[in-house]
Symmetry: C2
Subunit: 307 residues, 2 copies
């Protein structure tokens, strides 16, 4: 199983020429989930040719301008496409008020249904293939990270093997797929591993911003294939980060290390760093967690279970 | 006297990779006036090195998302600079509600005073050097264009000429500057034109968007040195423009021609046109008004009275 993750904006606080405000998208089997929606998100979606119509669910971390001001414009795009499915939006309670106020004050023409779901810690969305869990963070206002976890699935059934073993097509195939051992008419026992490939591990994507460092975060994002995490400041500003309830890149790396993630992708950089100065964030994080990536706007990650 | 005009965003409806949403700035003697504030305005300001702190007044045309969604983020920048002067914001009544709702819902920290002025047709701002007049437009909701007019001033006093003519420094200089003829002790009459340069004509900048074509607009923007005006559609979409209460570029050109402006700068393009397709808008407008410019984001115009 696999996901594509698109970084739509990497800046915190303020959009910059090469760094739109914080947002990321996950595409899975053609469906797009959006995480946060700062100013510029629409532009990155367009540049990546990600179709607005495919966005089924939007997950918002918290109600600060740099995470939501791209949302009204994005909702407006609706009038441009033929959309019949509702759009689900998850976030803190005030998000509904924000959307309602914008709709009213800007006479926003929205020709589809918006279903608002107030985020509470725990699983906020589940379908047969995946769950999205909200992680309580600690910022200057209520804030949640999100962890998307695909469910594990049994290995792929090999029709070729089944035929070679003379297993008759029918109920036995189904039982083998469910992990049961079956006995053929001639008395031969067939175990599932004779016809199934390796179990397909679901992949995990975590999106953590904005927050001060909490050791509890590592438990929530455990074994993520990709952890997109704020690393706003360098070590010289650890005290500032603490006071502003943000993290240094080293703190993001501690979480990545403790959670045993595969890859850490830093995001939500302070505008104090020019593009070329960001490397300090990566250097400091890499000392603690080696596989650290300094994201750029429109960077794309492919995650699959063979990684 | 002179102004610089900066086009910050040229797109209507939807921000695009090379076209942020509609906004323009005027800088005059270090002070910046902002006209509309769509998504991306902050980024263009940054790219042009225009300091947020220098923005003293913001004039908003109307309450549609593509003209105001950049505003909350821009107001937030305040917390980054040491600003003591109030910020004046002019616009339709709902603009105040919009700002208040955003401040409340996004916990916006704003450490200076915002003074809201509800726009009504006529002069909305005047100081010793200039006026800003609101022009009633006709769109799907209340909408105003704005015309900034510098006041004319007498020509520059030439100290060199005055000395050459043996006019004693003192009250006579002042009287000549006021346009009076003076008589020297030796009986010689000196007329103002002997010591004053040509009268300094104030320049005029007009910002017209969004509106259907109204012949009355030409009266308001008469003799503008620069008319920044929506020209959203080509002639094949004249009926669409009418129904959506927008203008074709040809209609913008009719206004420019009838108003006798010096230069027409088209803005607020429909996202239906890719960048390279925009030239049709210029071609059609140029047939009616030759000095038509197809603006691009971050285009700069210098207007001075010797043009």
């Amino acid at each position: 199983m696999s996901l594509e993750v698109f970084v739509l904006g990497t800046s915190g606080m303020q959009p910059l020429p090469n760094r739109f405000l914080t947002s990321a998208a996950v595409r899975r089997e053609g469906e797009i989930f959006l995480f946060d929606c700062g100013e510029g998100t629409q532009v990155s979606l367009k540049m990546l040719n990600l179709h607005w119509k495919r966005i089924s669910r939007i997950f918002i971390s918290h109600m600060h301008a740099d995470h939501v001001t791209g949302l009204p414009g994005l909702l407006m795009l609706s009038s441009q496409v033929d959309r019949t499915e509702p759009l689900y939006i998850y976030g803190p309670a005030k998000l509904k008020e924000y959307i309602d106020a914008n709709r009213k004050l800007l006479d926003m023409y929205i020709n589809y249904e918006i279903r608002f779901v107030q985020t509470e810690p725990g699983v906020v969305y589940e379908n047969k293939d995946l769950t999205v869990e909200a992680v309580p963070l600690l910022h200057t206002k209520p804030c949640f990270g999100y962890v998307l976890t695909e469910k594990d699935r049994p290995g792929e059934f090999s029709v070729e093997n089944a035929k070679a073993l003379n297993i008759p097509m029918g109920p036995m195939w189904g039982r083998l797929q469910k992990g049961e051992t079956v006995t053929l008419e001639n008395g031969t026992s067939i175990t599932p591993n004779q016809v199934l490939g390796n179990p397909r591990r679901g992949v995990r994507f975590s999106f953590i911003t904005d927050t001060m460092y909490l050791s509890s975060i590592a438990n929530h994002v455990k074994n993520s294939d990709l952890l997109v995490c704020e690393g706003m400041f360098d070590n010289s500003l650890t005290q500032d980060a603490f006071e502003k309830k943000h993290m240094t890149s080293s703190q993001a790396a501690m979480i990545a290390r403790d959670a045993g993630v595969k890859k850490l992708a830093l995001i939500h950089y302070s505008p104090r760093y020019a593009d070329k100065e960001l490397k300090v964030l990566k250097e400091e994080a890499s000392e603690i967690f080696e596989n650290t990536i300094l994201t750029k706007d429109r960077m794309v990650f492919e995650i699959n279970n063979s990684d």
